[in-house]
């Protein structure tokens, strides 16, 4: 299918392999330099710098009003930055109007032109390039094949389903062979079932065409499954940039940790820190926590240590594993989900700790009940020090 697709592959071809962001010799494909956008005294985007590499599927994640849409609109050229520069493939496009940028966008509302047929919608961009009619027809045909809409070429948008409209919007943007495709909440308007399917189609398409995607979304699940890297945005700034597993496993702070699922956070005081392992004592409790992922902190410093619920082991007998942190508590609440169970355990310090346990055995020998005394334990590599 790639052979007949009208979209040229970029030189590098395919999605990025490895991790170009870790390789200092790699040249960034999109570069934002101290980019800001202020509306009056309010900074929607506040001095952001970012490097995105060729073939990445880069996701900007944040709640509403965090500035992610403004950032995307600056990339597309609909908003003029108050300060800073935007470079794509080494060219400064800060001053380039949207119609001259090598960037196309898929809008959240899809913005399919209601008065044009599917065919005319997809052809619009090429017509504006004043390409010969024959070539336009050829490329439109190929593009409609690629997004699996060849039979609907003459339909009007009001005769299409939501998913079909999304494909038209995608085809219309891709046919321009952009260097970068911007996607504004690409899946938000689809129902849940269609969303999962479309998600994989998008990833395949990106893989095939090798176009760099920048996706804006408020949905962390969408971001996790789609992205090569995620930038978490809050109040106009990036609070963390990393691969999905990095932001999940090693969130920089409480906000990010809470954003991606649940986390148990323990207030503690540092006892020792030897560079690799940090030991801390929980407040109101003499349990010592050891964690391997920590910035160097002086003994006596207050810190927050986070452990995800699925990293905890729950047992009625004291665990024997080496290097595990162990604390005790009473089962206060439990919920059975079939594949797993969720426990809420009150520790001796009074804190409620959440535990998610896989039910890997049928009628597990460990049948916990309310008010059971339990041991909670986790490996020191599973906890992380949160800065806030």
């Amino acid at each position: 299918m790639t052979e007949t697709s009208g979209v040229a592959k970029t030189d590098n071809g395919g999605a990025c392999t490895g991790a170009p962001w870790k390789d200092p010799s790699q040249k960034p494909f999109i570069e934002l330099q101290s980019l800001s956008k202020r509306f009056g005294s309010f900074a929607a985007v506040d001095n952001i710098s970012l490097k995105i590499y060729r073939g990445e599927l880069f996701t900007i994640l944040g709640g509403s009003g965090c500035g992610k849409s403004t950032l995307l609109r600056m990339l597309a050229g609909f908003e003029k930055p108050s300060a800073g520069r935007i470079l794509i493939d080494g060219t400064d496009i800060t001053e380039t109007p949207p119609y001259d940028r090598p960037v196309n966008m898929m809008f959240q509302s899809y913005a399919v032109f209601p008065h044009m047929s599917v065919e005319q919608n997809v052809a619009y961009g090429l017509k504006k390039e004043k390409l010969p009619k024959g070539e336009i027809a050829q490329r439109v045909h190929e593009m409609l094949e690629l997004v699996q809409l060849p039979d609907l070429a003459r339909r009007k948008p009001n005769q299409l389903s939501g998913g079909q409209r999304q494909r038209v919007a995608l085809a219309r943007a891709l046919i321009k062979r952009p260097k970068v495709l911007l996607l504004d909440e690409p899946l938000a308007a689809l129902d849940k079932k269609l969303r999962e399917q479309t998600q994989f189609e998008l990833m395949n398409l990106q893989d095939q065409l090798g176009i760099t995607f920048v996706v804006v979304t408020h949905d962390q699940e969408e971001a996790m499954t789609l992205a090569t890297r995620i930038a978490v945005m809050e109040a106009g700034r990036f609070v963390q940039i990393g691969t999905p597993s990095e932001v999940y496993e090693f969130p920089h702070n409480r906000f990010i940790a809470d954003f991606f699922g649940k986390i148990n956070a323990f207030d503690a005081t540092v006892i020792a820190c030897d560079g690799e392992t940090l030991t801390a004592r929980l407040d109101n409790d003499d349990t010592q926590i050891r964690t391997r992922h920590a910035p160097p902190l002086e003994p006596g410093t207050r810190c927050v240590i986070g452990v995800r619920p699925e990293k905890l082991l729950i047992s009625t007998q004291a665990p024997t594993q080496e290097g595990y942190t162990v604390t005790r508590g009473v089962v206060e609440d439990l919920a059975y989900y079939g594949n797993r169970s969720l426990y809420r355990v009150r520790s001796r310090s009074g804190q409620v700790i959440q535990v998610s346990a896989q039910n890997y055995q049928r009628s597990a020998e460990l049948l916990l009940e309310w008010d059971d005394e339990v041991f909670l334990s986790w490996d020191s590599s599973c906890s992380v020090v949160l800065t806030q």
Binding site: G77, F78, E95, P97, P98
Partner: protein, 301 residues
């Protein structure tokens, strides 16, 4: 919309064309004429053509300086005729507005309660008169109200009266004409707000023990307030300056200000005085107009 990042020269030209063409038209044919009215209202009338003294003397060597006089405005205050005209216009416009509301509200409410597709038909019937000649609709009342008109004939034939009543050329006929002409302006905004009004609210209020009249007072009326204000302004503003209705249906003494201005201009040919009358009329209208525009902005956002 979008502030396009650095448009090219052609694009800037297009933008200037879109903005400047209607802008210049309005400056030339709306703003400047206004300034001229203001200017002439401070001039003296003469028997020349045009019949007013110039502000500046264009002809060379006449040795005129800037001539401005407040005489016209002073005259407006001194001559009872104008004060009476203004007050009478305000009175007629106010009373007609209330009458429109009394007729328009139940109509709008009944339309909003009617199910589709009948509702569309009823609305169409309200709008239809808009598209037919206003002048001819006012004229139709001359046929109805005249000494030998339909109503007098009817009343005589059923024996209620022996001699025809004087209905045409009275203030009553003017009220009737204004209500008749402007009641659609009242119905439409009222309908627009009443339509959006959730009828469940009524049931909720009734459920809580409110009697129909109380439901109306406590729920319907407050929620319909924006529509009531918009409708009242839409009737009051044009009614105040109305010319055709008093001219055709009103008596010789029913001097509404629009008619006074018209006569001052065409009959007495006192252009400066007519201008002064216009300026004062506009001053009276500024408050309701600003209120209306604020209301519009609020509904826009």
């Amino acid at each position: 919309m979008t502030m396009v990042v650095n448009p090219g020269k052609r694009d800037r030209l297009w933008r200037s064309f879109v903005i400047a063409t209607p802008y210049l038209w309005l400056v030339l044919f709306f703003l400047v004429p206004f300034a001229i009215v203001l200017k002439i209202s401070f001039a003296d009338p003469t028997v020349a053509q045009p019949p007013f003294t110039p502000f500046f003397d264009w002809s060379a060597g006449a040795g005129h300086k800037i001539l401005a006089t407040l005489d016209n405005y002073r005259f407006l205050l001194e001559d009872q005729l104008y004060l009476v005209s203004y007050l009478k216009s305000i009175k007629i416009a106010l009373i007609s507005t209330v009458l429109c509301l009394l007729l328009g509200f139940p109509m709008a409410y009944a339309i909003a309660l009617t199910p589709y597709p009948w509702r569309n038909l009823l609305l169409l019937l309200v709008i239809l008169p808009f598209w037919t000649s206003f002048l001819l609709r006012v004229y139709a009342w001359m046929v109805m109200l005249g000494k030998q008109g339909l109503i007098n004939n009817l009343l005589i034939s059923i024996g209620l009266i022996d001699r025809p009543l004087q209905m045409l050329y009275t203030d009553g006929a003017v009220y009737l004409g204004i209500v008749y002409t402007y009641v659609p302006f009242m119905i439409l905004p009222l309908y627009a707000t009443l339509e959006k009004l959730d009828l469940d609210l009524h049931e909720a209020a009734a459920d809580l023990g409110a009697r129909p009249l109380h439901v109306f007072r406590d729920v319907t009326l407050p929620l319909a307030m924006p529509g009531i204000i918009a409708g009242c302004l839409l009737v009051f503003i044009p009614a105040l300056g109305e010319f055709v209705i008093p001219a055709l249906l009103g008596g010789l003494d029913s001097l509404m200000i629009g008619r006074t201005l018209y006569d001052e201009f065409f009959v007495n040919r006192d252009w400066p005085l007519a201008s002064a009358v216009a300026v004062v009329l506009l001053l009276i209208l500024i408050l309701p107009i600003m209120l209306f525009q604020r209301l519009q902005r609020e509904t826009d956002t």
